[in-house]
């Protein structure tokens, strides 16, 4: 609501005609946007504590702590023997180091200023801090695209937009937290360099792109979107020397810089995802040569040259690309890329990608949930951009169209859609407010519109050399000519303000209720409204840390790998860096095999403890039994002979652990470990024993005995269960029931409880008879 107050007061203050006031106002609004964005991301800390959230952030935090402790080069060459046992992981070469370096740098600077802050606090607060920078970058981008007013709207939107907040609350220490800032800044610098055609801006853009590459794998989006922009500019005849300068400088610098990141390495020249950028780079050279040639040769010659040259170049390029792919020099498109175009692709070919919930297609609800009113308004902004198109607006149009598509494919990519929605919604709101508040201003004598105009003109004068501004004036739209009644004006303005207010309320509500859960700590409420905190995860990890040997190897599904490494400091077999599918499949196979087959795998991998997440007692739906089908699928992908998905279904073809569950299901290690001793418990007074609260039925098999593993620890709410893998039996005994020989005269087992002073019994006790020799048995 602070923003709104500022928004409404803005129009009032704008009356003063001075540039100083405008700058001050801009500064104040941006500062407030930063502050509000920062503050609204602190719900998680206020509710819980200053803690790293979820899964990936735990690794990022661990890596950052390692870097701060051992220095950058040690981090770059860090071979982590505690992950992916026994394969190990080269962290420096498999990570985007931008996040760690950023927080390490902040830590270092604060240290130099004699302001010691624990690195964890820097990690926790990094994303909220960067949200303010994102707002500022968005402001500049929108200002370049439209006007300063639209920029302020966009900055305020992005500061609190739930789609972005979801990945940047305090404690959510992940790449996306700083990558969105880098993304927006790169786009701003790109737009700026296209507008000015200056090598300096293009070089800055390349540098910013480098930062983006170092921060997030999403840089591929940039390196495809910018070439697309250039390509479209060429196609619609807007190619100019500015575009040529900007793209050539950006591509060369950006590519060379991006190859400095060890994880990226030679990918920019060796994978298909990066080839379009290279192709467009070649094309730009050809087109520039054509333009140069056009003024020097006759029209007929030019046409031959143009058509011939272009077709030859395209042909050679295409054939060359295919030859390189065929020869193995350039990797073909990866599965992740295909899954962007065919949403069913991953489910069939790469179950490990499809198993991640954030890779699922987006529902309509989540568009509204994450964007609220801006989702409805941004098409209007897009329309204004299409109507008053110029070079840089082509860019935002392409950005919007592609981001909308990708956001529809994967929930996760909602994140890249949010910035462009905020930009376009800012444009739409700014334009509408301009239109409906302007005559009000006229009436009072001084106008926000003219003020805006002057401000824009000033800016244009600065950088308008060579830019074709004829049709691109932001205020060129026929706005002030239409006569609109004062009632309509006030009603529209009022409704718009209400919408903005609702956006703020919604954003705050969503941030507070949906996106501020650390997921390391669970929260539920009692019937009378009290809060119950369930700290089972940390309880279990702490138990591991205190009670297991330092080199103990913990097997769990990969989701918990980073947390075990980060919180329990123990060796894990697989983790959230899902780089080795066959290793994960091996763990999946162990979980879905019967106990003795699993034991063999676990012995082979030197597993000491197994950890499962079980939600049946408290009704936690994200537990391993619900994920189990993915384990089976991933295991089946690698071991189709041993594991068959169909064996885990009931006869009716359903997935169930209830009475109809198949024998394979009831005997697999995961079922046994999840439900061991569960049949003895009752979760409620009126529930049958063994009633699973998550699945809402009684489990299929209650009397579970374990042979090769034994229960080591179960947390308070049974959420985490830890099992110890037994050593092989010291002796191979034969059980009483399996004995073949029954001695005549009935066999009684010897007493099992011995105590001192108890007399034993012998079959033929020697009796001493005087005068007789003892007889031996």
């Amino acid at each position: 609501s602070i923003i709104l107050k500022v928004m409404s007061s803005k129009s009032g203050l704008l009356r003063s005609n001075s540039l100083g006031y405008t700058s001050l106002l801009t500064f104040v609004i941006l500062a407030l946007a930063w502050f509000v964005g920062f503050a609204s991301r602190l719900f998680a800390i206020v509710r819980f504590e200053s803690i790293i959230h979820e899964f990936d952030p735990w690794f990022n935090y661990r890596a950052t702590a390692h870097m701060v402790e051992h220095g950058y080069y040690n981090f770059l060459n860090w071979f982590d023997e505690r992950a992916w046992y026994p394969l190990g992981r080269i962290v420096g070469g498999t990570v985007y180091p931008g996040l760690m370096v950023t927080s390490g740098l902040i830590h270092h600077v604060l240290d130099l200023l004699n302001f010691p802050v624990h690195i964890r606090d820097i990690c926790v607060f990094l994303a909220p801090t960067f949200s303010g920078l994102t707002a500022i970058a968005t402001y500049f981008l929108t200002k370049e695209l439209w006007s300063a007013g639209a920029g302020l709207f966009a900055a305020c939107f992005i500061a609190i937009s739930p789609g972005y907040t979801s990945r940047s609350v305090a404690g959510s220490y992940d790449n996306e937290g700083i990558a969105i800032f880098a993304l927006q800044a790169t786009y701003f610098l790109w737009v700026k360099s296209v507008k000015t055609g200056s090598v300096m801006w293009a070089a800055l853009c390349g540098l910013m792109y480098f930062y983006m590459v170092s921060a997030w794998g999403g840089y591929v989006f940039i390196i495809n979107l910018i070439p697309l922009h250039v390509l479209v500019l060429i196609c619609i005849g807007r190619f100019s020397s500015r575009v040529y300068t900007a793209y050539s400088s950006f591509y060369v610098l950006g590519t060379i810089l991006s190859m400095q990141i060890p994880f990226v390495g030679f990918q920019p020249v060796r994978t298909s995802e990066h080839m379009p950028a290279l192709g467009v780079f070649g094309l730009v050279q050809i087109v520039a040569a054509m333009q140069y040639a056009r003024t020097r040769v006759t029209r007929a010659q030019f046409l031959t040259l143009f058509i011939g040259g272009l077709s030859v170049a395209l042909g050679v390029g295409l054939v060359g690309y295919l030859a390189l792919v065929w020869g193995g020099y350039v990797a073909p498109f990866s599965g992740r890329f295909y899954s962007l175009w065919d949403t069913g692709y991953a489910k069939i070919h790469i179950p490990i990608i499809a198993s991640v919930s954030e890779h699922q297609p987006t529902t309509w609800v989540s568009f509204f949930f994450d964007l609220h009113i801006t989702a409805a308004v941004f098409p209007a902004g897009l329309w204004f951009c299409v109507k008053n198109v110029n070079d840089e607006r082509v860019f935002i149009i392409l950005y919007a169209v592609s981001a909308v598509y990708f956001a529809g494919v994967m929930v996760r990519l909602m994140l890249t859609l949010t910035p462009v929605v905020c930009v376009l919604a800012g444009i739409a709101f700014s334009l509408t407010f301009e239109k409906f508040l302007k005559s009000d201003e006229h009436f009072r004598g001084s106008s926000a519109g003219t003020d805006n105009k002057q401000y824009d003109k000033l800016k244009k004068q600065k950088g308008s050399e060579g830019a074709d501004q004829t049709s691109s004036s932001p205020d060129g739209a026929p706005v002030s000519e239409d006569p609109i009644g004062p009632n309509v004006r006030s009603i529209v303005s009022f409704v718009m303000s209400i919408l903005l207010l609702m956006f703020v309320v919604h954003a705050t509500y969503v941030t507070s209720n949906a996106y501020s859960h650390p997921s390391v700590v669970l929260q539920s409420s009692t019937s009378n409204g009290g809060r119950v905190i369930m700290d089972d995860f940390r309880e279990a990890y702490h138990w591991l840390r205190e009670n297991t040997p330092d080199d103990a190897r913990i097997m769990s599904w990969w989701d918990y790998g980073y947390q075990i490494a980060g919180m329990a400091n123990r060796t894990t077999l697989v983790d959230n860096n899902t780089w080795n599918n066959s290793h994960i499949a091996l763990v999946g196979k162990a979980m879905s095999s019967n106990e003795s087959a699993a034991y063999e795998i676990m012995r082979e991998l030197d597993v000491d403890y197994v950890l499962v997440i079980f939600g049946g007692v408290i009704g936690y739906s994200g537990d391993d039994i619900n994920k189990f089908l993915w384990m089976v699928r991933i295991a089946e992908g690698e071991h189709p002979k041993e594991i068959r998905e169909a064996n885990y279904f009931t006869e009716g073809g359903e997935y169930s652990v209830g009475a109809q569950a198949s024998q394979t299901m009831l005997n697999c290690l995961m079922y046994k470990m999840s439900y061991y001793r569960f049949g003895e418990t009752r979760v409620g007074y009126n529930q049958a024993a063994g009633f699973d609260r998550t699945r809402n039925y009684v489990i299929g098999k209650k009397d579970i005995t374990l042979e090769h593993v034994e229960e080591a620890y179960t947390t308070e709410n049974w959420l985490v269960r830890i099992y110890r893998v037994k050593k092989p039996a010291n002796r191979n005994g034969v059980k009483y029931t399996e004995r073949k020989i029954r001695p005549t005269g009935g066999h009684k087992s010897s007493s099992t409880v011995g105590r001192s002073g108890r007399k034993g019994s012998l079959k033929n006790k020697a009796v001493v008879i005087k005068g007789k020799r003892p007889v031996t048995a």
């Binding site: 190990g88 010897s750 105590r755 033929n764």
Partner: protein
Amino acid sequence: MKLLLLLLAASAAADRVLVLVDNMSIRESHSIFFKSITDRGHSITFKNADEGSLQLIKFGELQYENLILFAPSADEFGGTITAAEIARFVDQGGNVLLAGAGSNVGAAVRDVAADNGFEFADQLIDHVNYDSVLDDGTHTTVVASAKSQLMEAPLIVGDRSKLGPILYSGGALVAAPNNRLRLDVFKASSTAYSHDPTKPIKDYPSAVGRQAVLVSAVQARNNARLVLTASLHLFSNQFLSATVNKEGTKPSPSGNKAFVDSLAKWVLKETGVLRVKSVDHHKVGEKEPPREYTIMEDVDYKLEVEELKGNKWVPFDGKDVQLEFVRIDPFVRTTLKNKNGVLSARFKLPDVYGVYKFLVDYRRVGYTHLLDVQQVSVRPLWHTQYERFIRSAFPYYASSFSMMASLVVFSFVFLYHKSDPVVAQAKKTN
């Protein structure tokens, strides 16, 4: 002084042996066997198996290192000893010699055998190979040939080619199919079967021919040793000093004495005991093991192994010990060179990073299981360890230097070469 040292050494090696008998007369009837044990420096305590004061483990500590159970008829042991307690005793490293009998085997003894994967069958009868003098007509005093019925295991049975025929009288052992730790040291001949000699045969005997195991040795996974047999007579003075008379062969002294002595030596851990004295691995040319190895490095591995011989640890002289360098699968497998008990190897680490184990897993019949695992990590090259100048990069060096040169030339031309303004004007108007 020397005597004192010898005494000290003897007392250090002296193990406490508890002998449980069901009848104190066994002490007399098996005195030769017991004497040979005490002669080797062990101290024997005799107890009746049903005594109320019996105790094997006290406050979690073993009261005896070895247990000889010569009480086949024990239905229940006295005191705190039960079959479960004996199992615990074995799991804590105690050794057991258990002798059963042909008939009347007590429940407790059966339980102890079952805990180690054996069951007692009835009296062993062999109508072909029996002693014509000692046998009472039931053909239960069996004469066994050392060569064909003993296992080729010099550490357990001694040199079987030098052993005389062995007298045996008692039941037979039937091994459970899952019992993979057993060594069938002494098997019955193919003409033998087990049954009660006084009763007519109605159903199939539970042990027939070479399935019937007469003496079995078990080395548990913690290297505790057990010898089980179904004959207490095997150890008796009568058999140890007997002359064997078998139809069709010359009378000869029995091989029982040498056989049971070598069995006792094995089960009391006097022979076939190996231990790792020290293990060391490091890069070639260095002394200390590094925190982590780098791929493709040359590594020295050294393992010092000792064998217990006559109460003294002497260097082990085995030549067939292998070293494996394992990351799930072995990447390197090499035979260690033995130089006076120091087993060593030098090899190049594989070009694959990961967490590896130096693994020596030496299992030979009669020897304790020698296992040594050293976990090390093998990391990839540091970013500074790659070659700096490679030949295939020469075109790139050339291009960068030519680029620098041309930049200089270009700047020079750009700064100092004035083009004709008229020509430029003309071009523009085109």
